[in-house]
């Protein structure tokens, strides 16, 4: 007991000093490449990071402050800096004025179906681009990447007319279907599978007599799972927060959370504390996801970037 204690003590002290640390020793191996130049950060670095961190978090904190006050308090010449006691009144008012209940259900439906479809289709396509040989592969991959640069603004007018033509005007389908796949997702899965999936594994599957679908199911999908987790979270965050096209495509009776929030603030005389309560409701689920999976999301953005 005492020996273990003496061995681990320095290490533990080091970790405990890092207030709220999410760090873990194995991650340090990531730095190996640049180990020769890794200087320790001085106090200036910590001060700068703390300032930026405060700037990152303060608007979120202030959303909570404003959501828990009355409008008069929020707009007072000395704005409040601490939460008040009006949170539940405001949440209730936001809930009623913006049909947030329906909006939440809609947002969950939209985000999860987009995420599932994106994961499935992008993993398949990413695998084909990473490990299969076929005519036109290079040109097609270039096309996929090129589509990344096309803003949705360029096609919303006909898209809106098409949707009303098919009978999806104002329906969730009009938001879900255009987003079923993502060029970024294809690219991301391809980059991951290029390295993570050795050809030997596929060959082994073939020797075993598996056809292509079978190989996808029992070899590719398990290997791709970590990347799929990351892509899933990135896609979910994006689908949850999407504003432009849903705002144009959906109507007041059938909104997603972001659309409802936009309408709440556009109402005749919006009460700012109620609007902030709505903002809180629309942000909170994602913040929870972010606190739990933040590390994976951070890692995902970094890995997606470094290989690109």
């Amino acid at each position: 007991m005492t020996t273990t204690h003496t061995v681990t003590a320095p290490d533990r002290r080091r970790v405990s000093k890092t207030a709220g640390s999410h760090d873990e020793p194995p991650r340090r191996s990531r730095f190996k490449q640049g180990a020769g130049r890794q200087h320790h950060a001085g106090p200036f670095a910590y001060i700068a990071l703390a300032v930026v961190g405060l700037g990152s978090l303060f608007p979120l904190y202030w959303t909570l402050v404003a959501a828990s006050r009355t409008q008069d308090e929020v707009l007072d010449t000395t704005p409040p800096l601490l939460p008040g006691g009006n949170l539940f009144n405001n949440l209730e008012a936001a809930w009623e004025q913006a049909s947030l209940g329906k909006a939440i259900v809609n947002t969950v439906i939209v985000s999860s179906s987009i995420t599932l479809a994106t994961l499935f289709f992008c993993t398949l396509a990413g695998y084909a681009f990473a490990k299969m040989r076929f005519k036109g592969r290079g040109a097609l991959m270039t096309t996929v990447i090129a589509t990344l640069t096309i803003p949705p603004q360029l096609s919303v007018v006909p898209l809106f007319m098409m949707m009303s033509d098919i009978g999806w005007g104002g329906q969730l389908e009009s938001v879900i279907f255009p987003t079923l796949v993502s060029a970024f997702g294809v690219f991301f899965m391809r980059q991951y599978l290029l390295e993570a999936l050795p050809y030997e594994l596929i060959e082994a599957g073939r020797v075993d007599g598996a056809n292509n679908l079978r190989i996808v199911w029992s070899i590719v999908l398990p290997v791709a799972r970590p990347a799929m987790m990351v892509l899933g979270m990135l896609t979910f965050v994006q689908a949850w927060n999407d504003f432009f096209w849903p705002y144009l495509a959906l109507n007041q009776q059938n909104p997603t959370l972001q659309v409802a929030l936009g309408q709440l603030s556009a109402s005749y005389v919006p009460d700012q504390s109620i609007v902030m309560a709505g903002a809180l409701i629309s942000t909170l689920p994602l913040l929870v996801v972010f606190v739990i999976f933040g590390k994976q999301i951070v890692g995902g953005i970094m890995s997606g970037a470094v290989k690109g």
């Binding site: 180990a35 076929f134 803003p151 951070v298």
Partner: protein
């Protein structure tokens, strides 16, 4: 994560498959033809969903936009299209509001992208040191990314409010007078740029950090052997190694700033937001498109705006490409 376990299972779970089965020649031929078809067709089948969805909801509408731009189509009767030729284009090009929107989009794009990427570069450099709780810092800096445009714009709308706004209150302490942020051309554009910077700096920081960690350490060792200071190392080793990544983030941010919509729409909200301010002082191209199509209900001109955006985008791409070539030449 456990990537090896499932695959080992997939490989070893069917030992019986290894044994060759007796087969007649005809069946074998049929089978091998089936296999060959499977091999030929599978990749196309796997990438087909992407191209089908993109074709139907991306490419086709993109081209169709051009056709609509030559017609009069009203929100009130979507199935009635009347040919008007270049009239829509003529109308928007002669509209001073359109040029205001182009200017605003450009100004906001520059004053949001440049500081954002510079801050991100600096932050990434800090995060690249040996840090305590490095994951904690990364997560904190990325948090705004998890916020929606709508929530961010609405809370910043309160921060930038003329009376009772948080920013004016803070500035009051320093003796600075009150600014009606949303009312001025520059001040409103700055306000919108701040929202953009707040949401995207963390994201770009992580992209830079990843690129920095991929820089081979012997470059730094060689530099320090030559007696280069840390700042010189940053300037002469880090920045040049990051050049492709920096170009990538510039392209992504530029495309992003072309699309600014929620930030200006919700800065003041309501009818004022839908036209980008009382004097259109912060109207962006997306707002202009929205105002024409969804607020006023004229879809023809809105489609023409979309094509104008495409032209601008191609122009920016060309400039980017030229700059990239110039930078590469001067470096070589």
């Amino acid at each position: 994560m456990a990537t090896t376990t499932p695959t080992r299972g997939a490989h070893g779970s069917r030992p019986g498959r290894h044994a060759p089965k007796p087969m007649t020649a005809r069946r074998q031929a049929w089978r091998s033809r089936l296999w060959r078809f499977d091999d030929k067709a599978s990749p196309y089948a796997y990438i087909a969903p992407f191209f089908l969805v993109f074709g139907a909801f991306g490419l086709y509408p993109l081209v169709y936009t051009g056709w609509i731009a030559l017609h009069r189509v009203e929100m009130t009767g979507l199935d009635q299209m009347e040919w008007v030729g270049w009239e829509n284009f003529g109308n928007i090009l002669q509209d001073s509001e359109f040029w205001t929107a182009v200017t605003n989009t450009f100004v906001i794009g520059v004053i949001s992208t440049v500081p954002q990427l510079m801050i991100a570069l600096g932050l990434a450099h800090l995060l690249n040191y040996k840090l305590r709780a490095s994951t904690f810092w990364r997560t904190v800096i990325l948090t705004p990314y998890a916020t929606s445009v709508a929530s961010a714009a609405l809370v910043f709308a309160l921060v930038f409010r003329a009376d009772g706004g948080l920013l004016n209150w803070v500035l009051g302490f320093f003796g600075a007078g009150e600014t009606n942020w949303a009312n001025g051309h520059w001040s409103s554009n700055i306000a919108i740029a701040v929202i953009v910077i707040w949401r995207w700096t963390g994201y770009n920081t992580l992209i830079y950090l990843a690129a920095m960690q991929a820089v081979p350490s012997d470059l730094y060792e060689a530099a320090s052997l030559d007696g280069a200071s840390r700042w010189q190392q940053f300037r002469n080793v880090t920045i040049p190694s990051l050049r492709p990544t920096i170009l990538f983030t510039i392209v992504i941010s530029t495309i992003g700033s072309m699309q600014l919509f929620g930030e200006p729409l919700l800065l003041e909200g309501g009818q004022i937001g839908a036209q980008g301010g009382t004097e259109h002082q912060y109207e962006t191209l997306s707002i202009y498109l929205y105002n024409y199509g969804w607020n006023l209900g004229h879809l023809g001109p809105a489609a023409a705006v979309a094509w104008a955006m495409l032209v601008l985008l191609l122009l920016i791409a060309a400039i980017n490409w030229l700059i990239g070539r110039f930078v590469r030449k001067t470096a070589a």
